[in-house]
Structure formats: structure tokens, C-alpha cells
Subunit: 205 residues, 2 copies
């Protein structure tokens, strides 16, 4: 299924269709497809072009690696993410490579890279679902993530599945319309709290 | 001009062409176009769908607002960003709306939203350049940004310009090929430091 954005201003099809479902099909993802996903992440912006991201990745083709990755998720996420053929974990380097100083944009730039990854997935008929719900310390121990790097988000990757495969509560969430704050609440001009005039131009204004 | 990614695996045209130039054309951006950029940001992912982003925006059509925004940039960025017809500032809410607890993914999610914005710009023949180089405390004072919100990045928005308009050092940077680490350095499996096998599948492997 799809669950596109209900946008007020027109946006590109890729952005409109990107979505984080919980139902995944039982279908493997070719390695070259995954390569394109991480290639998309590679070309994201970053402060000083520092590229402060690493992705740990595990697929069901290697059941032992996959189980180790699945085990870092909280139970709520395991319940559905275990159907995804590929799991990944984004990790941020928290200091700059060129001078060792703290990089306050490290997570920002990982967010940029993972969004690029998610949009490349959409372009290929794949879908992704990022999760903050995992045990960061368990991830650190499992994968021997060194000091100076911070586990950021787990990512389920695969082809879209049938919502009927989900438990009832998740199925209900899967098919309900997606929602976001209107532009008038987050696009401001002049001073804090003043909606920008442009925000009034959408079709629902 | 364009300066597309020199990618090893194929990626979507939008992602390949997205780029952060410093040369901008002297051409205004219609408000409806800006609306689509922020609409793209609106539909980004966020932890608990918290949408922890605000954008302050200033265009040259309102010279006083524009000058106030330009004034928060460091001199190095003012030198070229003053040509962009629109400047914006992303701001992150650092705690969750639903429970007031710290949101460690706040900047991550702003990075997601701003990447969506940048890709929508690419789709419309616009370009964006994000900057960490601005005075966050001056931004806070100028726009009365409240406690609990953190200025994240300044963003120049406009149509691509002629690199010849730039000072020599910036012109040189503008036309040099873009570079990124290869996948083998940031896609790992099993344990930290092990390149994932899929990383070897690119055309330059």
C-alpha cells in the first residue's frame, strides 16, 4: 500500500510518496539496491563536508548478524521490524575529523544522510522506517562502537507489505492518514511567532 | 552551472543533482515556490512525529528583514550569501512536545526536514546552501528565539548563478569536483570497522 502526504503546496513525487510503514514483504533486497541507498546517503550535505555517518547493516541472508541487530530494538519495534529483510543502524561521529572539536551538527548531518537514503529507497519501490526505539548501550556493546561515536537510529528496509500482516493496533496506524503541522505554525518571518506570509498560500489556507 | 555527484552506484537524479553552490542569480523566488520548499520540509520524518523544526525566513523583497538575517552570518558567508534572494534559519525544539523530555533526535530531524527542503529546491531549479557559520546567540537575540529552541543552520536559497560572480578562492571551490568517502569506509556489517560486502559493488570498486 501507499500512504502519500496530504500536502497543501505541490511537492515532488518522491517526497510526497516517502513514508515509514511497518508492514514489509517477505522479499530480499538485492545488494546493488542497498548500494544505491547508501550511495544516496553518501552525497548528503554535512558541516565542513565531515560526513560524520556510519551505517551498520544486517540482512536476513546472514541470520546471525540479523538477529544481533534485531536484538538491539525495543520490543514494540521488534514486533513489526522482524519482518523487514534488512536492518541498519546509523551512527554519528560527534567530533570533527579535521580538528577533533565537538560537532554540534553531527546528528543533523546523519539526519540529512538518512533522509537521502529513505528517498532513494522510495525511488526504487523500497521503503524504510527509522526508529529511535532501540537500546543504544546494547548497540554499542554488540557492534563495539568506539567512544566518540553515537548510535543514532535503527532503520528497517524492505519492500512494502500488506497491512493485514500487522497486529490490529499497528494495522490501524498503518492505514490512518498521515498528519503534520501546517506551515503557518513553523514558517516564521521577522520575529519569533509571526507566521510568514508565504505560509498562507497553500490550498487549505 | 551544475556540479553533480560522481556516484559509484546509481542514485535518483534529484539526489545526484542536489548541490550547495555559492553563486546565486539576481532573480526573485516566487512565494509559492518557497511554499513548496517548506511543504517538503513539513513531511519529513521525526521521532514521535514531533516535527521539532521552525524556519525563520527573510527575502530581499523585505530589505529590512533580509538585512537582519544577513547580519547573523559570519563574514566568510556574508561575502557570497548576500547574493541569495532568500535566507532562512532552521531552529530545533530540544524537548518533546508530548512530555517535555529532552529530544536527542531534534537536530537529526531538522536535518531530515532541511534535506527534504533542499531536494524540493533541486526539483524546482532552485538551489540551497546550508551554513553552520552564523552567530547563534545573535540569531537568538535578533529573532527572540525562546529558551528550549536552538538555532541550527542558516540556509541560502535562490536560483543558480554564474561562478564568475564569485571571488577567486570561492570560484575555484565552486567548480572543483565534489568529493565523498567511499561506501567501504562508512557501510559496515558484523562489527565496527568491517566494510559491508555490498560496498564493493560500485563501479569504482
Amino acid at each position: 500500500m501507499e500512504n502519500p502526504a496530504t500536502n497543501d503546496f505541490p511537492i515532488h513525487e518522491l517526497l510526497r510518496r516517502r513514508w515509514s510503514p511497518r508492514a514489509f514483504a517477505d522479499k530480499r533486497v538485492p545488494a546493488a539496491e542497498l548500494g544505491s541507498l547508501f550511495e544516496a546517503a553518501r552525497w548528503a550535505i554535512s558541516c565542513y563536508n565531515d560526513q560524520p555517518w556510519v551505517y551498520l547493516v544486517a540482512s536476513k541472508e546472514n541470520p546471525e548478524e540479523y538477529e544481533r541487530m534485531l536484538a538491539i530494538l525495543i520490543e514494540w519495534n521488534k514486533a513489526w521490524a522482524a519482518a523487514a529483510p534488512v536492518l541498519a543502524l546509523s551512527v554519528a561521529r560527534t567530533s570533527f575529523r579535521h580538528n577533533g572539536k565537538p560537532n554540534r551538527h553531527a546528528l543533523h548531518d546523519v539526519g540529512a544522510a538518512s533522509t537521502s537514503l529513505a528517498l532513494e529507497a522510495t525511488a526504487r519501490g523500497l521503503c524504510t522506517h527509522q526508529m529511535g526505539g532501540f537500546d543504544a548501550e546494547k548497540a554499542r556493546a554488540t557492534f563495539r562502537i568506539p567512544d566518540g561515536w553515537e548510535p543514532v537510529a535503527a532503520i528497517a528496509i524492505g519492500y512494502p507489505g500488506d497491512p493485514a500482516s500487522l497486529p490490529e493496533e499497528l494495522r490501524r496506524r498503518e492505514i490512518e492518514p498521515r498528519s503534520r503541522k501546517p506551515l503557518s505554525e513553523f514558517v516564521m518571518s521577522g520575529t519569533w511567532g509571526n507566521s510568514a506570509a508565504l505560509a498562507a498560500g497553500g490550498k487549505k489556507a
